[in-house]
C-alpha cells in the first residue's frame, strides 16, 4: 500500500464504492486491476517530464471521493448550451449519461448508448470496447478513470454513414460539492463515415470539483471527423482529460480546441496515425487569466507512410494565469514521407502571467518534413505605434491587437453563430473587454 496520502485516499474511496459500480464481477476485477497498477505507480508529479508545468498541488488539494451530484433540468441547461441549431444532443451530468436530457435522434447510422447500461447488459462487450490504459507515464489519469469506470457514453457511427446533423456532446458538472467524478467516452467512426462532433464543458455550481475524463476516438479507414471542443467550466472546476485517438488509412481528423474556463485544465491529446495517408489538423486557443491554468499536452505519433499532421495553437495569458503547451511529435521508421508541423504562439498581457512551451520532435526516418516553432511575447510596440499614429488610442490599439492575435483561430470555426459565441467568450476574458465590445 502506498504511503502517499492521496493514493491512500483514492484506495479508501475505491474500497467504499467499487463493488457497487456497474458491470458486475468482470468489471470489479478490471477496476481492481487498474487500481493496483495505479497504486504501484502513483500519480504524475513535477518530476515527470511531460507534467512539469502543471500545478499538482491544486489537484492534490481536491477530494478524490465521489463528488455529490444533483438532478439537472432542461431549463437549467438552456442558458449554457451552444447555439447549435438542429444538433443531436448527448448530455453527461457529472460524467454520467442522461438520456432524459439528451435529444440524440435515431438512425442515419449513428448509435448512442449509455456506457453504464452496456456494462450492465453486456459486460463482456463493454470489456472489449474500452481501451485498457497502458503503462505509459502519461496515461495514469486514464488509469485512475479506469479504476472507477462506470459512467459515460459510447457513440458508434456505422461504416459509410453520414449522419448529417452534428452531434453535441455536453459535459455538465453540477458543482454540487467537493469531490471527483470519472467519465469515459468511446467514439467509433466506421470506414468511410463522417462525423461532426461538438464537445462542450460547462459547470452549473461552484464547488471545487475534479472531473477526470478518459476518452477514445477510433477513426476507421477513409472516415472523416470534425471535432470542436470548448472548455468553459466555472472558476473552481478542475478538469483532467486523456484523449487517445487513432486514425486508419486515408482518414481525416480536424480538431479545434478552445480552453476558455475552469480553475485548472490538463488536456492530454494522444493522436496516433496508424494507417497510410491519414491526416490530422489540430488548432486551438487557450486563455488563462486570474489564477487559472491550462496545460495542453499533445502527442502525435506518425506510424503510417505519407501521414500528415499540423498543429497550430495560441495562448493568451493575463493576470497571474499560467499556460503550457507541450507538443511531442514522433515519426516512426515506417512513416516514410510523413509531414508534421507544429506551432504555438503565445501572448502575455501582464507581467505575472506565464506560458511555457516545449516542442519535442523525435524523428526516426530521413524521408520526412517537420517544422515547429514556438514564441511567447508581448504585443508588438511597432504595431501599437502604427495604430496610434492613425488616431486610435493606446487602450483601443492594444485591445484590437489582442483580438487580432487569435482572430484566425476563431475565424476557422464552422458556423457564424459559433464564431460569435466564442469571440464573445474570448473578449470577455480580456482586460479591455469593454473597449473591444464598443468597437464591434
Amino acid at each position: 500500500m502506498s504511503a502517499d496520502p492521496i493514493m491512500q485516499g483514492i484506495a479508501a474511496s475505491h474500497a467504499g464504492i467499487a463493488t457497487r459500480l456497474a458491470g458486475g464481477p468482470a468489471w470489479n476485477e478490471r477496476r481492481g486491476l487498474a487500481l493496483s497498477r495505479l497504486l504501484g505507480r502513483g500519480l504524475p508529479d513535477r518530476r515527470d517530464e511531460n507534467w512539469k508545468y502543471l500545478d499538482h498541488a491544486e489537484i492534490a488539494g481536491r477530494s478524490f471521493s465521489p463528488a455529490a451530484t444533483a438532478p439537472v433540468t432542461a431549463l437549467q441547461l438552456a442558458p449554457v448550451m451552444l447555439p447549435l441549431a438542429a444538433a443531436r444532443r448527448v448530455v453527461l451530468v457529472d460524467g454520467a449519461c442522461q438520456p432524459g436530457l439528451s435529444a440524440a435522434g435515431a438512425g442515419n447510422g449513428i448509435e448512442i448508448d449509455d456506457l453504464a447500461a452496456i456494462m450492465t447488459r453486456d459486460p463482456a462487450l463493454a470489456l472489449q470496447m474500452l481501451r485498457e490504459p497502458g503503462d505509459d507515464a502519461d496515461d495514469r489519469y486514464a488509469l485512475l478513470a479506469e479504476a472507477f469506470v462506470s459512467a459515460g457514453v459510447v457513440i458508434r457511427v456505422a461504416a459509410n454513414a453520414a449522419p448529417g446533423r452534428s452531434l453535441y456532446l455536453l459535459h455538465v458538472g453540477t458543482g454540487t460539492g467537493p469531490g471527483t467524478n470519472h467519465s469515459r467516452v468511446v467514439i467509433e467512426v466506421g470506414a468511410g463515415a463522417t462525423l461532426s462532433l461538438v464537445e462542450h464543458f460547462v459547470t452549473l455550481g461552484n464547488a471545487p470539483t475534479l472531473a477526470n475524463l478518459a476518452a477514445e476516438l477510433r477513426i476507421d479507414a477513409g472516415a472523416t471527423v470534425e471535432h470542436l471542443r470548448i472548455h468553459e467550466s466555472g472558476a473552481q472546476a478542475a478538469q483532467l482529460e486523456t484523449w487517445v485517438t487513432t486514425l486508419q488509412a486515408d482518414s481525416r481528423y480536424r480538431q479545434q480546441f478552445f480552453a476558455l474556463g475552469g480553475r485548472l485544465l490538463r488536456s492530454n491529446l494522444d493522436l496516433s496515425l496508424a494507417g497510410r495517408a491519414a491526416a490530422a489538423r489540430l488548432s486551438g486557443l487557450f486563455m488563462v487569466d486570474g489564477a487559472r491554468q491550462a496545460d495542453l499536452y499533445t502527442r502525435v505519433e506518425h506510424h503510417g507512410a505519407v501521414t500528415r499532421t499540423s498543429q497550430e495553437f495560441r495562448g493568451i495569458g493575463s493576470g497571474r494565469g499560467r499556460g503550457a503547451f507541450n507538443g511531442r511529435v514522433v515519426v516512426h521508421p515506417s512513416a516514410r514521407g510523413a509531414d508534421a508541423s507544429q506551432t504555438c504562439r503565445n501572448l502575455l498581457l501582464t507581467p505575472l502571467a506565464e506560458i511555457n512551451t516545449r516542442p519535442q520532435l523525435e524523428i526516426h526516418t530521413d524521408d520526412v518534413q517537420c517544422r515547429h516553432g514556438a514564441t511567447t511575447g508581448t504585443l508588438d510596440p511597432e504595431q501599437i505605434f502604427y495604430l496610434r499614429s492613425r488616431g486610435l488610442d493606446a487602450v483601443t490599439a492594444r485591445a484590437l491587437l489582442t483580438v487580432a492575435f487569435c482572430a484566425d483561430i476563431v475565424a476557422a470555426l464552422p458556423q457564424e453563430a459559433l464564431r460569435e459565441y466564442v469571440l464573445e467568450r474570448v473578449v470577455g476574458q480580456l482586460p479591455d473587454r469593454d473597449v473591444i465590445r464598443s468597437l464591434r
Binding site: 510596440p381 499614429s389 483580438v403 484566425d408
Partner: protein, 258 residues
C-alpha cells in the same frame, strides 16, 4: 482651417536620442501652409528619426528643443492626439497587422479624426463610396480592403496603402518617410499622384527621401539636406537636382561652400 502661409510646423534646435546614440544634433525647420518640403540626406543622417520624433514614435528621447504644431507643443502630445490634430506619418516600413481588417482600420481611423473635429461619423454607405474613390486613384484592388492591414502586401502595395490612408484622412501635415523607396516607376507615379492630390493651400507636406526621383513628380518648394543630425543646407528645388548630380559627399563637411 489653416490659411496659406500660416506656420503649421516650427521645429527649433531639436536634439533626439535613440538608445545610446544622439541622432539629431539640433534641427530647425519652418513649414507653412501650402508648402512642400523635401528633406534629403544619406543613410543614417537622421531623416527617419526626425519624422519619428514628430509623430511620437516610442523609443526616441527628445533631449532638447521644441516642435510647435499649429501653436501647440507637439512633443507633449501622445501619438494619437497628433494624428487627430491632423498630422500623418507615412511609414517607411508599414507594419503588417494580421487579424485587423484594413477597411476596419480605415474606418476607425477616419471616425476617430472626425469625432475629434466634432464632425459626425460617416455611415457605411458614405464611407465605402469615399474609400472606393480613393482606391481607384491609387489603382489598388478592392480585395486589399478586406485583408489584414498590410498583411502579405507587396512593398509597393504597402506604400500605396499608406497614401490611401493619407488621402482618406486628409492631414494638415503629412510626413512621408522614404515613401518612394522600393517603388517601380509606375507605382512611383501613382504615389506621386496621390500626394499631389493632397497638395493644397491649407496643407503642408514634408517628404523625406534619399533620392531625387520622387521630386520629379512632386516638385518641392523647399529642399533641405540633413547630414549627421543637422540641416546643413537649404534651398529650392534646384538643390535636389544638384544633389542628384553631385551626391552627398560634397556636403560631408557640413557647411562646405557650394
Amino acid at each position: 482651417m489653416t490659411k496659406n502661409g500660416q506656420t503649421i510646423l516650427s521645429v527649433r534646435d531639436l536634439r533626439v536620442r535613440a538608445g545610446e546614440r544622439t541622432i539629431l544634433e539640433g534641427v530647425s525647420l519652418e513649414v507653412r501652409a501650402g508648402e512642400v518640403h523635401a528633406i534629403m540626406g544619406p543613410n543614417g543622417s537622421g531623416k527617419s528619426t526626425l519624422t519619428g520624433a514628430l509623430a511620437g514614435r516610442p523609443g526616441l528621447e527628445v533631449l532638447s528643443g521644441t516642435a510647435t504644431y499649429l501653436g501647440r507643443d507637439l512633443l507633449a502630445l501622445p501619438p494619437e492626439e497628433r494624428a487627430r490634430a491632423g498630422l500623418f506619418l507615412a511609414f517607411q516600413y508599414p507594419v503588417e497587422i494580421p487579424g485587423v481588417n484594413n477597411v476596419y482600420l480605415l474606418k476607425a481611423s477616419l471616425n476617430a479624426l472626425r469625432r475629434h473635429r466634432g464632425e459626425p461619423e460617416l455611415d457605411a454607405f458614405e464611407f465605402l463610396t469615399l474609400v472606393r474613390a480613393r482606391l481607384a486613384r491609387m489603382q489598388m484592388d478592392e480585395g486589399l480592403l478586406n485583408r489584414g492591414v498590410n498583411e502579405g502586401f507587396s512593398g509597393g502595395e504597402k506604400k500605396r496603402n499608406e497614401i490611401l490612408q493619407m488621402s482618406l484622412l486628409e492631414p494638415t501635415l503629412a510626413l512621408l518617410d522614404e515613401t518612394d523607396s522600393g517603388l517601380d516607376i509606375d507605382a512611383l507615379k501613382v504615389v506621386a499622384e496621390g500626394v499631389n492630390a493632397l497638395r493644397s493651400p491649407e496643407r503642408a507636406i514634408v517628404i523625406v527621401t534619399h533620392y531625387q526621383r520622387l521630386l520629379d513628380y512632386v516638385v518641392p518648394d523647399h529642399v533641405h539636406v540633413l547630414a549627421r543630425g543637422r540641416i546643413v543646407r537649404s534651398g529650392g528645388g534646384e538643390l535636389a537636382r544638384e544633389l542628384e548630380r553631385r551626391g552627398y559627399d560634397w556636403l560631408r563637411d557640413g557647411t562646405a561652400a557650394a
